[in-house]
Subunit: 741 residues, 2 copies
């Protein structure tokens, strides 16, 4: 690949980006699409302005960029919670580090690479990209100390920034914990694996145990029920009903021709049924001890304690002499609980986890095959030797440039789209008890996947193709890995550059346009002819975006001193990401639940991994280039980086695993001082409700159906009763916004 091919790719992507950004700035002004682009705003404001048509609606503008830029961190915290701030901090960290890296590498390393060998340079557009990489530096060159110096500067800079970020985020997490005095999760412990005693219900066993051993601090409890088959059927029916209802409810169908068979006279029967069910549900919810035959108690419960400290202590202790019974965990917030997994018998969890790990390993490994094929497209010249029929294609220049510069990445991205849902499924099976925990676990899985399949697989296939023999055993040999990486990374840098352009830039535009919700919206309005504005809001997809940002970080670090030409493209990506994600957090995604900054340890660990990998690759390169001094200087750098990591792990990480006792005790004291205790205890009783959210949605819909009211903005805040006040963060979701993970 030469400069002109790269510029072609960059040109296409810039055009795509500008086009899509402009399209976005137009689309976001359309009132009918407000549900797609302003889910967050919609969920907070109670009314929606019905703009008349005005000409400005069709003119692209950059106002959203200004707004995204101007939002302060406090606003972002208020809207997106700690997680959003942490995510944006990761982006800002990348911008800072790669600004330094770009300055150092473009002005120090790049010239050395370019003039590394005595050779006749071609004209600039025809110059091969490999000339800009370290591959062009002569063996034994006396200029390699510059690369080593650059590595030192980048590592030090990254470590210093990481340290302060970790420190700040730890502080932010603690502030977040102490910020509100009414999180019910602080008083709640999830108890699983309640032992089965003959002639006693779980309820009685639990009551006995906690009144016996925690008599002073135990407040009350709430059993978890099997949702069962009936429950599942019902929830399916509910979903179906909602779709049909809204289809049926159109009072002035534009074209009667489009009315489908669904819009029959059966709506009333649906309505009546649902009403009965809704009221029945409400009863069972309010008197949760009532023995509803459809629901069976399972060996799990939420136990409420009088103080935060008592709950904290109970959640951390080993309760019984059999570690497989009376398992306690700190509870997630009411909106965050992943109810269906609470019923999974605890004794199966360990085997589920193992099964998921095995499945994950298999999946990640066998995903390699499409990657091999994709990567081989970059090497058209080499491929044509193997597949002669491709020669014709390769001859047509534009086609060739498209094939080698653009197609591989596109194929890739399509493949990559199926990964997050699958990983989410894995995390569900693994038994996560909170939605945020499930997303975090998915994030880690996607990270493994992405780093292995995008980074390593590409490098390994590159190495394999380069040697014309795919001998996996040779690739896996431990001793050769640094050398192998040292050879392959500069060669693969070309692909990574196009990857940054396509997967990076383009994916940001896609993120902005939100094609899937847009299509859904259009489908609802034009195919189903649904004038009802009920919209689906999404929570922020940390499980795909965190790995993406970190992958680009990895690419940046590893390529920085080897092929510095990637850095400007990366910087552009990170700046765009900064703007786009801020905009999305402010406008699009709702925050139903959050992990309280638990994504930062992932970011930190991955960055350290990237740094150490970069250093190991540099080791290999210095070895190949016969520069013993640089080689010797790189070793202490690796050791220092690992020591720094260990220090941070000891210094900050425990706060991300446990709540400090001091914090809990101080909060309890403040509650007592201000006389909030009784109030909190009362609210606690009704904070968690396993079957309410669906019932409520249905109930709201049912009511609307009865009164034939078309108002979209019925807030269920009051219907949620006392619980709503607990949900400082989660209160923002009115009835008609259905939040999806």
């Amino acid at each position: 690949m030469n400069i002109s091919a790269l510029l072609t790719s960059a040109g296409i992507n810039t055009a795509v980006c500008v086009g899509l950004f402009s399209l976005y700035s137009v689309l976001r002004k359309q009132p009918s699409l407000v549900g797609v682009y302003f889910g967050q705003k919609l969920s907070q404001s109670k009314s929606r302005c019905e703009d008349p048509f005005w000409f400005g609606r069709l003119i692209p503008s950059a106002s959203w960029i200004v707004k995204a830029w101007e939002a302060s961190e406090d606003e972002l915290y208020a809207i997106g919670g700690v997680d959003a701030v942490v995510f944006l901090r990761a982006v800002v960290f990348s911008i800072r580090v790669f600004t330094v890296a770009a300055i150092v590498c473009l002005f120090l390393v790049l010239p050395l690479n370019y003039f590394g060998k005595e050779m006749d340079h071609k004209e600039f557009p025809d110059e091969q990209l490999i000339v800009f990489t370290i591959g062009n530096v002569e063996e034994g060159s006396r200029w390699l100390w510059a690369h080593c110096l650059a590595l030192y500067i980048i590592t030090c800079c990254a470590c210093i920034l990481l340290y302060f970020e970790y420190k700040n985020i730890t502080k932010m997490r603690l502030t977040h914990i102490t910020a509100s005095h009414s999180y019910p999760s602080h008083f709640t412990v999830i108890v699983r694996a309640i032992p089965w005693v003959q002639e006693e219900s779980y309820n009685e066993t639990l009551t006995k145990f906690f009144t016996d051993f925690y008599s002073s601090s135990y407040l009350s409890h709430q059993m978890i029920h099997h949702s069962g088959t009936v429950q599942k059927l019902m929830s399916d029916a509910e979903k179906m009903y909602k779709i049909l209802k809204s289809t049926h409810k159109e009072q002035y169908c534009g074209t009667r021709l489009m009315r489908c068979g669904f819009c029959g006279g059966t709506a009333t029967s649906f309505k009546m049924l649902s009403d009965e069910r809704a009221s029945a549900r409400r009863e069972t919810c309010s008197e949760s001890d009532g023995l509803d035959e459809r629901k069976k108690e399972c060996g799990a419960a939420l136990v409420f304690f009088r103080t935060r400290y008592a709950a904290l202590v109970a959640s951390e202790a080993l309760q019984s002499t059999n570690p497989m019974s009376w398992v306690t965990d700190s509870a997630p917030e009411p909106c965050d609980v992943f109810w269906s997994n609470l019923c999974v018998p605890y004794r199966l969890l360990w085997i589920r986890k193992i099964a998921v790990i095995v499945a994950l390993v298999f999946f990640v490994t066998f995903f390699l095959f499409p990657v091999v094929f994709t990567q081989s497209l970059v090497h058209l010249d080499k491929l044509t030797k193997i597949f002669p029929f491709m020669k014709k294609l390769a001859k047509r220049k534009i086609m060739a440039q498209l094939l080698s510069g653009y197609l591989p990445s596109v194929v890739f991205i399509i493949f990559l789209y199926i990964v997050p849902p699958l990983m989410m499924l894995f995390s569900t099976l693994e038994g996560a008890i909170s939605r945020s925990g499930r997303k975090r676990s998915t994030c880690i899985k996607v990270m493994y996947f992405v780093i292995w399949n995008v980074f390593f697989a590409n490098i390994l296939t590159e190495a394999a193709i380069d040697h014309y023999q795919v001998s996996i055993t040779k690739l896996v040999d431990a001793k050769h890995i640094p050398n192998l990486l040292a050879k392959a990374v500069p060669a693969t840098a070309t692909f990574f550059m196009t990857y940054v352009l396509t997967s990076g830039w383009a994916s940001l535009s896609v993120e902005l346009i939100q094609p899937f919700p847009l299509l859904c919206n259009l489908f609802y309005r034009f195919i189903l002819r649904n004038k009802d504005d009920s919209s689906y809001a999404y929570t922020f997809p940390y499980h795909t975006e965190v790995p993406r940002v970190l992958l680009f970080g990895l690419l940046g670090f590893t390529c920085s001193i080897l092929a510095p030409l990637i850095l400007p493209f990366l910087l552009v990506y990170f700046v765009l990401a900064f703007l786009v994600y801020r905009n999305q957090i402010i406008n699009v995604y709702v925050t139903e639940y959050e992990s309280g900054g638990l994504y930062w340890p992932i970011v930190h660990n991955t960055t350290i991994f990237s740094l150490v990998l970069t250093q190991i690759i540099a080791l290999g390169v210095f070895g190949l280039k016969e520069s013993p001094v640089s080689l010797a200087f790189t070793f202490p750098l690796i050791i220092c980086t690992l020591l720094f990591h260990q220090y941070c792990r000891h210094r900050f990480n425990p706060v991300f695993r446990k709540i400090p006792a001091k914090v809990a005790i101080e909060m309890d004291r403040e509650d007592e001082q201000y006389g909030r205790v009784e109030d909190i205890h009362q609210k606690l009783q009704s904070a968690y409700c396993q079957f309410r959210s669906k019932a409520l949605n249905l109930h709201t819909s049912g009511e609307q159906n009865n009164t034939e009211s078309s108002s979209v903005t019925v807030s269920v805040g009051t219907e949620r009763g006392d619980a709503s006040r607990f949900e400082d963060v989660d209160e923002i979701t009115p009835g008609k916004i259905i939040v999806l993970d």
Copy 2:
């Protein structure tokens, strides 16, 4: 090596064993050696019978075997604590498993191996040992299912036994915890990394913190003091003084010629000094808050709580928002505390741990070189090709048999003797806060060392010598490991057999004879002419014996189906070990501290490792022997073994890490019921004393010096004050028995 060489080796070792066992049975009857062979008995009984000379003293007898056999587990528990019982259980487990393995392998596998190939068998004594291994089975043999079946039987048997052992030992551990209501450690928490506040002593900071946050459960505390240089000098002086004193104190020196310069007139001045110091020490100990200028407070303390549960909770919680300050840990028993490590600044511990790990890895790796040389001695025929001067040696038959059958192991054992002290040093540097924890950590380190340097190194050198080229890179290649092991293990089995004979059988005799204390005793009595009977008692060396027993287990498992001839020798070893260790626990070693069964998880994990390794080697063997069916059947076995391990880890292991809350609460209640609370709280105040033990020893010696009393049996039980009642287990150590680790 052929059968006759093996029998030579076995003969020598049997002779040595019988000889040493007889010698032991004579030596143990000598009244002057009672301190060597009855340290435990001595520490318990208050008087010592001075037997007159009788003829039976010189006749070997087997009475000790009968006594060792007859001791019940309860007796052993009473004498040696949980750890001793756990260790013996590990031996019994090995006997059981290898009995089954021996029956299966000798009657099913051995004949198949022997008649595996159509060949002319030589006369029996000249038969090469390789004929009895799986190496003699033809490729593609249809009898390999028998090996697979044997593997299944051994694995199942081992897993079932492991499960029940783990279950019983868990129960035993819990019983041990609840057995005594007066362990001070249950009420105590070690606090480290107390933050330094300007113009406040650590003492005040600590008092503020705990009265503030644990006001209801905090009882009192005791600061830890730097021992400082003066302290060290003093303790050295004390040691010196004791040696001199006892040398000086001989009232009737047998031969004045032997009196050395030490026996001068300086004893009085020594005495006076020590007396002053002893009394000064006693004061500081009783009023531990008094500011002694020689002692500086360090940022650590023992904090006492009112209830066990409160202490448990405080030890497990994350106290402060900075995880590097206010670090809490559950405290060890008073006798178990490793005082000097408590003063190590907590912020240095993580880096110390890393340094120790690095040092360990280096040491374990570079120890390989003597091993390579030793192992090469077994292959005299091959060595002579490389070193022609050895031909002469090899020609003399007895010499050759000695060289190949005996010498390698002896060289080995000598090398191995330096390992445990070094590992103990590593564990000390690592910062263990209890003596039992330090020993346990040493045990794990020695285990790594032994498994790597005895098992793997021998196999790898075998493989390397076999291929006449030591290419480490090839050996390390991951994919070839099963094949490599499959080839090397049967070939190395010969060495392992001699290793069992020498290191196993002979080491047991050595253990019985106790050469080091015996020599010390003789040195004291005949060189230093010391008639004083003060004796040094040792605690049981779990850190060397547990790895040894487990190493033989590993050898047994891996060789079982490949070279079953090793099993009878192993069984003999385990039976002897059973008798010898029982005898030693009953008679020799004192129990000052114990870990409460924490050695069992080590035993369990190592056994599982051995099983899985055996299965992986079997995989390699079945692959080499082209038996796809057996190969296919071995895979699920590996998976099941690993799943079993995971299950046990979840089911039992947490109890070995934390004390269940239920247990603590129930014990607290019983205390209240029986009105013991006040009593316990009072005793708690004086239970721990940092500088007492030495002072007491000295004090006792000083007193004796004054009164010129030669009574050996002064019990310091009363001088220890109220603390003694706490030490149900540890009370057994009177003043004159100095316990060494």
